[in-house]
């Protein structure tokens, strides 16, 4: 019976020990290698005291070792917490303390830099993933099977939080497997598949790349992050690596269409293209389909809190030239139920606008250490016919159901926006900027952009007699925020427009910025 993510690796190793599990540039691990390396990491973690239920941070660039580390953590019933290796030290230190991490896995170089910069009071135990000596002394035998159950946490993914600090989305084995099993069946993954691993491990798109691929006995092909800056190199990589299933945010696919010279690449191996995280403008999707007409295309939808909960299989009619409606996010995945609820808490009729609610085993356990915030998102089910207490997850996304039974995404209930597929709470950026001594008032707005969904812009009023430059403020943000949350532009003003209630009038600022 499979109810823990680590079992996916154990089972595929039994069936495909010699097949490649992970490829990183010229290096690779077979299933046998990956299983063995993750066993060694598991023993090392046990040696520093990690046991079932503990949190273990992964502070490491995407690599063969990082994949093995994930399975090492899971094999002893602990939860992994993937950290953005490029995030500011302050943010890393916050997450370490916030989820009371028991151990941190990293490379010698990153660990030294972190310890030097953080001066953290309670540094967790460290396990180095690139230290051959201590690895060699750790046993390669499987650790004893963890006495974990499917409700236990498998990982915590930190996302932008509106109060100024990130919040940790807790995902159980059961929730993750609900999605992984669905995806495995839906996309018919096979041992011959070579699946891209484009998203960073702290981003929930990576869950498909890692676990659906390993479940199938396929090969995860790690995409070097530097390639995303150069679409020509990325397109060449997809062709050379004979990727069969690609999964990324739409803005990467758009950059391939616009600047990747796709016509010159042999992309015949690509059989399925999946995208999620933001709206894919039809005009770029149409061009992509022209370049890669033989592939199947799916739009996947779901916030980190629910995993992927709806999906849409692209049909030729969606690309017809007279179409002006956004691409649908489709309907609920297997073993998942969705419904649309209005402001008074009632289910609406098809065609009416409301918030999308998700019911099923795929939803999160809550936000780490934030019971009140959790309570606003995980709420009792509004469907009266259900017996007992059933908890559902509010997505915060406004949708409308079409006559075909598919959902159309319309926008957010709150201040969260997407940029390059990342979710960003504008309030979090504002909170950080307000700490700057030269700033009197400010507003952070999202300006719609065709290629990256939104550009983040800050409007700043300085205190009388004070000045500060754009790059100084960006540097100030970079001490607390990851790169994708730093405002792309900062505009200095004498004052900001106010609403009748005295709040900054963001609607008019946004209107101005779009002109």
């Amino acid at each position: 019976m499979t109810y823990l993510l680590s079992q996916l690796l154990t089972q595929s190793t039994r069936a495909h020990a010699e097949r490649p599990a992970v490829v990183n540039r010229k290096d690779q691990l077979t299933y046998g290698d990956l299983d063995e390396l993750s066993n060694r990491f598991a023993h090392q973690l046990q040696q520093v005291g990690v046991t079932r239920g503990d949190r273990v941070g992964l502070y490491v660039e995407k690599s063969l070792e990082a994949v093995a580390a994930i399975f090492g953590v899971l094999k002893i019933g602990a939860a992994y917490v993937p950290l953005d290796p490029a995030a500011p030290i302050r943010r890393i230190a916050y997450i370490i303390e916030n989820c009371q991490m028991k151990a941190l896995m990293s490379t010698t170089r990153k660990m030294a830099a972190f310890q030097k910069a953080s001066q953290a009071r309670n540094t967790p135990a460290s396990v180095l993933v690139d230290d051959p000596q201590s690895l060699a002394t750790a046993s390669a035998d499987p650790p004893s099977f963890p006495q974990a159950i499917e409700n236990d946490l498998a990982y915590i993914l930190y996302t932008s939080g509106s109060t100024g600090t990130p919040k940790g989305v807790m995902i159980s084995h059961r929730a993750s497997l609900t999605f992984v099993n669905w995806a495995y069946d839906q996309f018919q993954l096979r041992p011959t598949d070579r699946v891209s691993s484009h998203a960073p491990f702290h981003f929930d798109l990576s869950i498909f790349d890692i676990f659906a691929t390993i479940r199938a006995g396929g090969t995860m092909v790690l995409v070097p992050p530097s390639l995303s800056v150069f679409p020509i190199n990325l397109a060449k990589f997809i062709a050379e690596q004979k990727i069969t299933i690609w999964y990324s945010v739409p803005s990467i696919l758009t950059s391939l269409v616009l600047r990747g010279n796709l016509a010159e690449q042999d992309l015949s191996a690509l059989r399925t293209i999946l995208f999620a995280g933001e709206v894919f403008p039809i005009k770029y999707l149409r061009q992509l389909v022209d370049f890669v007409p033989h592939a199947e295309y799916y739009n996947l939808y779901g916030p980190t809190e629910t995993n992927v909960c709806t999906y849409y299989h692209l049909r030729p009619a969606d690309l017809s030239p007279d179409r002006n409606q956004a691409l649908s996010i489709g309907r609920a995945c297997a073993n998942t139920e969705t419904f649309v609820v209005n402001e008074t808490g009632h289910i609406v009729s098809p065609g009416e606008v409301g918030e999308l609610y998700v019911r099923g085993p795929g939803i999160m356990n809550g936000y780490w250490g934030l019971p009140e915030k959790t309570g606003t998102v995980l709420t009792p089910c509004p469907v009266p016919a259900l017996p007992g207490t059933e908890i559902v997850c509010r997505t915060g996304d406004l949708v409308r159901e079409t006559p075909d039974g598919d959902y159309i995404f319309l926008g957010r209930r709150d201040n969260m926006v997407k940029s390059r597929g990342y979710r960003i709470e504008l309030d979090e950026i504002e909170t950080v900027l307000y700490n700057h001594p030269a700033i009197e008032s400010l507003a952070v707005i999202a300006v719609p952009d065709e290629e990256v969904t939104n550009i983040i812009q800050a409007m700043v009023v300085c205190r009388t007699g004070q000045t500060v430059s754009q790059s100084e403020l960006q540097g100030f943000c970079a001490q607390s925020l990851p790169k994708y949350m730093i405002p792309d532009t900062i505009e200095f003003r004498e004052n900001l427009p106010k609403t009748s209630t005295g709040k900054v009038d963001k609607t008019s600022l946004r209107r101005e910025a779009m002109e």
Binding site: P225, V229, F230, R259, G475, K483
Partner: protein, 89 residues
């Protein structure tokens, strides 16, 4: 515009100064050498590359073709200097 003669050394210096000023706000500028891996170290990302290209085009007065925007030409300050030199000769 007056014709300026650039040596490899002053091309590199101009590029380095620009990168420090525009992209190094979150790190120690002295860490930057002509062989620092700009992309791999995350100093220049997908938005930054457009700004850098615009700067090079305006500063040195030529146009960078889309097919020239490849990793090999932008990996380090040395590589970018090489790209600029092929356009100036």
């Amino acid at each position: 515009m007056t014709q300026t003669t650039y040596t490899a050394a002053n091309i590199s210096r101009i590029i380095k100064n620009y990168i420090i000023q525009e992209f190094m706000y979150d790190r120690v500028a002295t860490d930057l050498t002509i062989d620092t891996l700009l992309i791999e170290e995350g100093i220049i990302d997908s938005m930054g590359i457009f700004r850098l290209i615009t700067f090079l085009e305006e500063q040195f007065g030529f146009t960078i073709k889309p097919e020239e925007v490849v990793l090999e030409s932008f990996e380090t300050i040395t590589a970018i200097t090489g790209l600029v030199k092929t356009h100036l000769t």
